[in-house]
Amino acid sequence: MAEIRKRYDALVIGGGIAGMQAALDLGEQGYEVLLVEKDPSIGGIMVGLNKVFPTLDCSSCICTPRMAEAAHHPKIQLQTYTEVKRVERRGAGFEIRLLKKPRYINEDGCVGCGDCERACPVDVPHEFDFGLGARRAIYIPHANAIPQKAVLDLDNCIFCGKCDAECPPKCLNFLQEPEEVTTEVGAVIVATGLRLVPMGTKSEYGGGRFPNVMSPLAMERVQSGNGPFGRVLRPSDGKIPRDVAYVQCAGSRDRSIGIPYCSRVCCMYALKQALLLRHYIHGISVTLYYMDIRAFGKGYEQFYRRAVGEGVRVVKGKVAKITQVENQDLLLRVEPLDGEGRVEERRHDLVVLSQGLLPAWHPKGILDAEEAEDGFFLTPEATIRPSVTTSRGVFVAGVAAGPKDIPDAIVEAGDAAMAAAAYLEWTRRRAGSATTAWEGVESEVVT
């Protein structure tokens, strides 16, 4: 892997779809970009999804070429398994402090053969599969990971040395240490993505307590061909589910848990998963309990009608409580909003909570851009300049700015790249003969 240089035009924080797109859009304009990702692979959430709505195209088939393009672009330097510790203003640019975490392998030598992983005797829950599947203490992050390099999880290593014995190019390096690196950039794009509202937030739904109450991202992995089970099964006992429920707004539009906003994607991902379950398991019953169906994007209303047409049941009603009954089935207490005012109990063998979205990263103490009340980045001119933050030269893309779907995240990444390019050109003009975009420009001249 190339050494981190002293200067880049731009830093992109986050190697998900929005970060990759922003980096590519800057790179294509000739700017030197440092793309930093905290995980061992780029790809973010999207590379773990099964299909995308409303087209039902394979998600990784769309994401993986983007990953390869970003990784091999001559103007983009990819730095995985690295955290941004501090972004400090220096004139019109920034000084960046990074922490490179050790993989305990020589990346130039590792060919991603996986022999070390097969030799390792310790199985641990795999984060990529939301704990439903296993990985080893040394592992290749996933089948589509870029870079395809092993990483040793020190906290689960029993120090047996079997990985070293089996590694054909002998590239294990147990003596690596975390390394702090400093660089300078002219502009910053934050594309740090999302996390889901924690499973136990709505405790009345039993998330985190009942094994058959699942998160939607775990269901994405279960539905994926390279998922933890290889097919759709219940996590509690491996049963092929026959009757699945989706509970909408399970962590969004709910002031009682401090998340009043709509997460914008839950209706569509639930409909997509529900329809795919109908395709994957013959005769399965899938019911979606909802407050409103928000199918606002291009082709989304048609997709909703298709899902209903293909047998997904939609029930307008609020789920009050979920209890676990015999055989680890689940009993839902539902009030259908059909004007009759009755409460029903309906039994299902698997429930997916359509959890809302939260920002995955907070800038406090690292970066001087402000957060809005909801915890996402504050974009004061969201209507006309959606990627501009409260910090000059810092731009935001994707879900870091607020919940959105993949097409919107990609569009916003393009906007962030253009705004960053405009900022770099503006500083270059001000700097006159300076050799880099921001060199020689003091922050006070930037208005």
Partner: protein, 105 residues
Amino acid sequence: MTATERPEARPKEKRPWLILRDRHGGMSAQLKEYFKEQQRIRKLMKEALKGEPRTIPQLATACKLDSSVVVWHVMAMRRYGLISEGAEQNGYLLYALKEAPKEPS
């Protein structure tokens, strides 16, 4: 040096993963317990699967383990080629031990 003189025995070089272990403060007690339990469960499951393929509830009963624990171990063993998936039986899949691959001659 004459033929009868022997060079001083070189101190044995410490294996690099053991240097890392020392730097890391050794293996945690929690990990030791976790690994021991993993080995115990795998042994039970392999024994239970020796005779015939079983579903996860059947394996859970045979091994006296919670079925969700068995699911996780079956899927881990499946991923690393120790178990294969078979036909469906009453809404569950059958799992069988794979034969150990023969060494190439």
